[in-house]
Amino acid sequence: MTDYGHDLLFGSFITPGNAAPERVVGLAQLSEQAGLDLATFQDHPYQPSFLDTWTLLSYVAARTERITLAPNVANLPLRPPAVLARSVASLDLLSGGRVELGLGSGAFWDAIEAMGGRRLTPGQGVDALREAIAVIRALWDTSERARVDLPGEYWPLAGAKRGPAPAHPVGIWVGAYKPRMLRLTGQHADGWLPSLGYLSSMQDLDDANARIDDAAAAAGRDPRAVRRLLNVGGRLSARRSTDLLTGPPEQWVEQLAVLALEHGTSAFIATGDDPTLLTVLGQEIAPAVRELVAAERGGAGTAPAAVVAGEA
């Protein structure tokens, strides 16, 4: 039951289907026009009906002006971290600092292996992700000249040149559900990016937040260094319902404000590829949630979070 005090972000979670690429690009542009902060794309490189997410992000960056872009979440087993680090930094430079990195350890191992990725157990996946985050941060860190040597089981670096550095401190947002991955998130990540559909209850959300807080504190980090993001499914309808995010905009506003104020969520990323929902989210719901949350925070005296970028 914490509010970490982050400024609120609203975004879209776009299915990168390749049957009509212009429609996918159009949804990102519409997200920008609707005033959303984020356009994000799921990444399933083994899915033949999807566009390659990284290529799509790069193309969309050139077709948008203001909105921040992120993979949601990048599939680490098929996106080796050294090239991923340089790609993210490059796109951040090309887009004027509009890229964040959602990162996941991979889930569909049969498909990953079929594409040439290495099959890992869940435990190995956590270790591989930890190594990858270290690789990415090291390659981005051009404050040192020395080449990077990082021995590792999964993603070793030997004498790698650093750079380029991104244009702004890019946040690494980890898709995590299980205890070990949540601990890793608290220790090393800048954000936690789960999907509401994979959480069974609000209690799950609170429990996971607590695990992240504990792991952050144990690593000497401020729990507020980890932004809590959430992919949310839902539907606009004329009538209110008892379901989460199924009802008129007013119901969305109230429920999102509760998520922000009582469950610590500060970024809401709408799934479903629905142009109407994205428009209403950006134009009506987001401003109202911001107002409501600001009013409550003012009353409650929550200190705005000082977001700490990079590893604490």
Partner: protein, 723 residues
């Protein structure tokens, strides 16, 4: 030796992280200056890390419209080749077929191992692009292991895979590999301007040609690229500033002229030669080498990776020998002239949804208009819009919506403009706004003899009459000018009824629809009974955004029978008519069509028996009246102006559906062209009754005497045989 490759002149883009905007700026400038190509080069593991080459190329794609996009020297050390294959195909689709990927061997002490890994990587890329192969890809290499990955998508065009990073001094192993598997080779020649350089180019070319001969390939199969010179078809200026680029563009123009003049004088045939494997898959009767130069780059043949995506259509399987994809009226003229000279069937395709219209074939030529998708507003005041035939109705709806407009179309956003607008156009706005073809004000038509004419009330009025209902018989319409309507948000209802008392339901439904104001259009779909219940799904659109009006219009429908489900929304028109995922079928559609003025008790009784028989999984009754009635029956080649209903039954058995439908013939007055697939000659008089057919035959004799356009119910007498 001149290999006759089309000359490509381009520039290599700077990828320094200190000025990240430089690549896109220079690329845009190169495009403005008329250069053909921009190139990004991967610095490799030992190079100075700048911007990631692939990321930068994708961003450049988003900032350019026309220029080709090449990546040079991508290494597979840290890019899984199966993922890179998808990345390349994705960018090719996003960028409209402008991508040329290039790979090079990775770092690593052992050069042979690195080249083996590259060879495996090339196999993975090509295997992933081979979407025509239904089986998963399994390549268990020593370096790259792909075990059962789903293939596809194929790139948007037949792309060339290049090898070489162009920098290393002559590397025999890499060149031998290129001679075996590549479509292009970046010549490794030092970037200086000494006389020795030209000699080096000649040496490298000769060595490659020898390797190609050893690999049993035609030297013309492999393009050669040089970063700033004999047999080289691709010349690229290395990373340059804008002034140098402008100077190069001037030189480029001069080079182009001299090469073109020289080739013309020698009679050199310009083009890139497809690989032996692709040539082996060619169909008989087609002179592939004679495909006009303007169409070669976008043409698809059976051995090409993109073939699977273009061979079949929405409801019909096919294996054409060549798919030509013209991008302009001039290219349609060239394609048509070429196709007419081939001794194989011809099909014309816009969106590829045709049920009656045969827009694919076996072993023939398909003239595919899917690249001609422009939608332009000509005049806001008169709502005049020009649309090319390959646009799909979902795209049209989306493009018109910002103006507060819509054009009555079909009900399915994936249908192409060309086929529908020349046949009729019965959609959710038909009662309010009439047929699509009633909104046509002018058309540009390519006739069988290759002439391009305009048809309107004032120009070639007889052709204009015929194009509206029988366009497929008369030519290829390359642009349509429509007057569209003001349409705001609309009411859209999806109602599911228990129609187990099917006869009564149909009679009541028909009467309700006929009595409804014209702003209301409804389509009904039924399938076989399930658990004894016949469900009727009704989709109805009310051309109004006022909830009270919408409810008022729908209430009489809701009273017809018990409602099992209902959903009513106020939505923008494009939310109903939107572009779906592409879909293709194998086999042949089996459908019958009938137009009816009323759903009489007798018709309803026969229809109910048909539905209960299970012979039709899809039985549909579309509203087809209202504003359609305002146009006289002889005003266009669409003659069914008194019908209130267009009825279609799809079946799985031709014999079974024909037997039932033939017995129902007395209920119908005519048939709707686009939903009829019965090929017995008497159907022609159903589609084009009486005087309409006589007049069309006159037009046919004049405009298409040899019956070139026979693929959608030829009116010729006698009709040429449809293959």
């Amino acid at each position: 030796m001149d290999l006759g490759h089309p000359l490509q002149l381009g520039v290599e883009l700077p990828l320094g992280a200190d000025d990240p905007g430089a690549a896109a700026r220079l690329a845009a400038r190169a495009e403005d200056l008329g250069l053909d190509l921009v190139v990004v080069t991967d610095p490799g593991a030992d190079g100075e890390p700048g911007l990631d080459a692939w990321t930068a190329l994708a961003a450049v794609a988003g900032r350019t419209e026309r220029v080709d996009l090449a990546a040079r020297g991508l290494t597979l050390d840290d890019r899984p080749p199966a993922v890179l294959a998808r990345a390349v195909a994705s960018l090719d689709h996003l960028a409209g077929g402008r991508v040329t990927p290039g790979l090079a061997a990775g770092a690593g002490a052992d050069r042979d191992e690195a080249l083996d890994a590259l060879a495996e990587g090339v196999d993975v890329l090509r295997g992933m692009w081979d979407a025509a192969d239904p089986g998963p890809l399994a390549l268990e290499g020593r370096h790259h292991r792909v075990v059962g990955a789903q293939r596809g998508p194929a790139p948007a065009h037949t792309l060339a895979l290049w090898l070489g990073d162009g920098r290393t001094p002559a590397d025999t192993g890499a060149r031998v590999l290129a001679a075996r598997v590549a479509d292009g080779w970046w010549l490794p020649v030092a970037d200086d301007a000494t006389p020795e350089r030209l000699a080096a180019v000649r040496r490298e070319q000769a060595a490659l040609d020898a390797d190609l001969a050893a690999a049993g390939r035609d030297p013309r199969e492999v393009r050669r690229g040089l970063v700033l010179d004999a047999g080289v078809g691709t010349l690229v200026l290395s990373a340059a500033d804008e002034d140098a680029l402008a100077a190069f563009a001037e030189v480029a123009a001069a080079v182009r002229d001299r090469v073109a003049a020289g080739r013309a004088a020698r009679g050199t045939r310009v083009g890139t030669v497809r690989s032996a494997a692709v040539r082996a898959a060619r169909a008989p009767g087609i002179d592939y080498d004679a495909v006009p130069a303007a169409l070669v780059g976008t043409a698809v043949e059976p051995g090409d990776a993109g073939y699977a995506a273009v061979r079949s259509t929405y409801m019909r399987g096919g294996r054409p020998g060549l798919v030509l994809r013209p991008g302009s009226t001039a290219e349609v003229v060239e394609a048509l002239a070429y196709a007419r000279a081939q001794d194989v069937p011809l099909a014309i395709r816009s969106g590829g949804h045709g049920i009656s219209g045969r827009s694919t074939n076996e072993g023939g030529v398909v003239l595919d208009l899917s690249r001609m998708t422009a939608i332009e507003v000509l005049d806001v005041a008169t709502r005049r819009v020009r649309i090319q035939p390959g646009a799909r109705w979902g795209e049209v709806a989306a493009a018109l919506h910002p103006y507060g407009w819509a054009l009555t179309s079909g009900d399915y956003g994936g249908v192409g403009v060309g086929g529908l607008a020349t046949a009729g156009g019965i959609g959710f706005l038909v009662r309010a706004h009439g047929l699509t073809l009633d909104h046509l004000r002018a058309a540009e038509v390519v006739l069988a003899d290759g002439s391009v004419v305009r048809a309107s009330d004032d120009e070639n009025p007889d052709l204009f009459w015929g194009v509206r209902g029988a366009g497929a018989n008369l030519g290829v319409v390359t642009s349509f000018e429509f007057e569209v309507d003001e349409v705001g948000d609309v009411g859209f209802a999806q109602l599911v009824f228990d129609a187990s008392d099917t006869e009564q339901f149909l009679v009541d439904y028909g009467a309700t629809l006929e009595a409804a104001p014209r702003d209301t259009t409804a389509f009904l779909i039924m399938g076989p009974p399930r658990g004894g219940v016949v469900a009727a799904q009704v989709m109805a659109m009310v051309d109004s955004d006022d909830p009270d009006t919408i409810i008022e219009r729908l209430t009489p429908f809701a009273r017809i029978a018990p409602l099992l489900q209902q959903q009513v929304q106020v939505v923008p028109y494009p939310a109903v008519v939107s572009v779906p995922q592409r879909h293709t079928s194998d086999g042949e559609p089996v459908t019958r069509s009938g137009m009816a003025e009323h759903l009489t008790p007798e018709l309803a009784a026969d229809a109910a028996r048909l539905v209960r028989s299970g012979a039709t999984p899809f039985f549909q009754i579309r509203a087809a009246g209202g504003a359609v009635h305002d146009v006289p029956a002889d005003a266009t080649a669409y003659a069914h102006r008194s019908a209130n209903f267009s009825i279609v039954a799809m079946g799985s058995s031709r014999r079974r559906i024909d037997a039932i439908w033939d017995a129902m013939a007395h209920h119908f007055d005519g048939a709707y062209l686009s939903f009829e697939t019965d090929r017995r000659p008497e159907r022609l008089a159903d589609v084009y009754p009486g005087a309409t057919l006589e007049r069309l035959r006159g037009l046919k004799r004049r405009y298409d005497p040899e019956d070139v356009f026979r693929h959608n119910y030829s009116v010729a007498e006698p009709p040429a045989v449809v293959v």
